[in-house]
Amino acid sequence: MLKQVEGSWATAKAIALCRPEVICAYPITPQTHIVEGLAEMAKSGELQKCEFINVESEFAALSVAIGSSGAGARSYTATSSQGLLFMAEAVYNAAGLGLPIVMTLGTRAIGAPINIWNDHSDAMSMRDAGWIQLFAETNQEAVDLHIQAFKLAEQLSCPVMVCVDGFILTHAYERIDVPEQEQVDAFLPPFEPIQVLDPASPVSIGAMVGPDAFSEVRYLAHYKQLQALELIPEISKDFEKQFGRVSGGLVRPYKTEGADTIVIALGSVIGTIKDVVDELREQGVAIGCVDICAFRPFPLQALDAAIRHAKRIVVVEKSLAVGMGGVVASHVRMALRGHPLPVYTVIAGLGGRSIIKPSLHKLFEKAGRDDLEDVSFLDLNWDAINREVARMKETRRSGPHAENILRDVGPTRKVV
């Protein structure tokens, strides 16, 4: 039923419909509204047969989920940014142990400088932890991906991280179709773990594995992700059958037919990009875009098939591999191995900076002329940077950049 609701509320509702048995929560903006919603549902009795556990840290949150999942309970947690890093050790551990935990990541920048707004630095930091990472374009998809995530996780015995852009989606009010319980029940069978702590049939979970088998264990984790490349589209199709709408999958091309320029992005920004693509298409520009929905496993073949006909690729990504450039762009180049195309990396929207249509128009126009550097930054304030760089040249130690730049551009700017 369509409802005008906050994205976080809808996500919470979707999670509740998946009948989670253990939910662990630790507050961090911007995922808080999701667990707050679940807390209400657990406390009010709307969410039955569920333990809602308030923990003392994100590390504990995921650790509790590791325990509950290990004991065979469908387990859920959510975090963002610093929280994800604080639980990093457990993130790797949950995947290593093959525990089908579902976690929402309300994507957010990582400090310092501390910043609560959206980008994908957090998600990218954990890309090799062994989790499946799905990115929601809209709040509707956020709802749908969570329902799919439990099915995926439990079929593979692999944890799934659903990445939902902080604030942009989590705090946005939209018309969202929140499914009915019967539909979800029909789609998502009860959790049957392949390993479980049970006195009736004891096992030792989490052995120490030495050089004799560690590579094999790692390969099997990789193999699991390769299986997911097949399973994700299947589940997406099943979902469509049950719920009547397309959600998820590996990649979603948009107006890529005959496109010379294909823009690639993850998450909510794809909506803005689609608008710009529409406008440029009306102007006769051969441009399209591809939404990468599954970043892990990375859909090399699906992406290649979707973009290989283009003349150039522009990757708009919300994270910076400092000292290198783009994370996603590197992956795209891997997808295009064998028939290389120019792949432009555009770092955009860091720390919540708005990615606005005029800037994208300008960007895509330059891209059409192949007038882009390999790595460029959207809407960078070059005045501030130049001044800081100049200062750095004068004084070997010019102090913290953030403070210096704020002095130039922020409200505490000195009037010279």
Binding site: E21, V22, C24, K49, C50, E51, I53, N54, V55, E56, S57, F59, A60, A61, S63, V64, A65, I66, G67, S68, S69, G70, A71, G72, A73, S75, E89, A90, N93, L97, L197, D198, P199, P202, V203, S204, I205, G206, A207, M208, V209, G210, D212, A213
Partner: protein, 340 residues
């Protein structure tokens, strides 16, 4: 019920009250470790060093818990010696459901396991989390405190061998003053570890007002089993701190693993007590009091206190003062006639 109650019931108890078993004691008063059908939660073939106090302490505790829970038990383990020596692929020594996740999260993982069984309506299945002193007093302390504060239905057992033994004997916040470790070498003007009380986790646990906190020693099995049994009869967060010797880290003969632990109790260095909801309800008694020097002297980690035949009287006096303070605080000698 107090641990000595059994003795009082046995009319002729001259043998067996402190021993593991005895033909003269009623079968129901024999210890779990005296029974041939004990669980052997950690079975043979594990790779603990010769004379490992932790291997012993863990089996003592878990076998007792298995009896107390009618074998409905799951154990969660922090990273550390106990984890490493029991579960090197492809072999595990555990005979009970067991899970290892990380060094610092055993308490939280256990909370999760307990939550899972509760939500599944199987709260007859009980959970024990366990770790060494590093995993408990240091890196796992946050999760432990969280578990206490939420009063999750878990018994957390710390096997305290007073340093990071698994990584090669480095100092932890449970390392005693003056002890030599790889990171507190016996060098300089104040050799060994700094003076202080360390992080006294049992007392910190009590500050959480959890239902049950106790200290136990691998040298007093009767007391240890009683405390485990008692702990398993209580719901909510419980904490058991077990002193276990590490022949390698302490620099003592493997044959003396229990003897050293006994000396720790008998000199007052390691007080045995129980507390309920933050209040001490029972304390152990020192049976044959010895000076702290008797405890220190056999251990290579304190060898610098006796170097070249010269005894570091001042340092030993400070350590003795700590023992005396324990004896007074917990009334370990009962000579004031007050039973705590």
């Amino acid at each position: 019920m107090k641990p000595q109650t059994n003795e009082q019931k046995i009319k002729f108890y001259q043998k067996g009250t402190f021993t593991v078993g005895n033909r003269l004691i009623d079968p129901d008063q024999r210890l779990v470790q005296a029974t041939t059908d004990r669980s052997n939660a950690i079975t043979s073939g594990h790779r603990a060093c010769q004379g490992c106090g932790e291997a012993l302490g863990a089996r003592y505790a878990l076998d007792a818990a298995m009896v107390a829970t009618d074998k409905q038990l799951v154990a969660v383990n922090a990273t550390g010696c106990l984890e490493v020596f029991t579960t090197p692929y492809p072999e595990t020594s555990w005979q009970i459901p067991w899970m290892h996740s990380l060094f610092g999260n055993a308490a939280a993982v256990a909370s999760g396991v307990a939550a899972a069984f509760r939500v599944k309506g199987r709260d007859n299945v009980r959970v024990i989390a366990q770790g060494g002193d590093g995993g408990t007093t240091d890196i796992g302390f946050g999760c432990l405190s969280g578990m206490f504060e939420r009063n999750d239905d878990v018994l957390y057992i710390c096997y305290d061998n007073e340093a990071y033994m698994n990584t090669g004997v480095q100092r932890s916040s449970a390392t005693p003053p003056a002890a030599r470790t790889a990171t507190t070498p016996a060098m300089g003007s104040a050799p060994g570890n700094v003076f202080g009380t360390g992080k006294n986790v049992p007392l910190i646990a009590m500050a959480h007002n959890i239902p049950y906190v106790a200290t136990a020693s691998v040298a007093d099995l009767r007391d240890l089993e009683h405390k485990v049994q008692k702990a398993m009869g209580i719901r909510g967060s419980r904490y058991l701190h077990v002193y276990v010797t590490c022949p390698l880290g302490f620099g003592t003969p493997s044959s003396d693993a229990i003897k050293i632990a006994r000396l720790a109790v008998e000199c007052g260095f390691y007080p045995l007590y129980e507390a309920e909801y933050g209040v001490v309800t029972h304390t152990g008694t020192i049976r044959k009091k010895v000076p702290v020097e008797d405890y220190l002297r056999p251990q290579a980690r304190f060898a610098h206190l006796f170097k070249g035949g010269k005894t570091d009287v001042e340092t030993i006096a400070r350590l003795q003062a700590m023992c005396d303070a324990n004896i007074k605080r917990y009334n370990l000698l009962r000579d004031e006639g007050v039973v705590a």
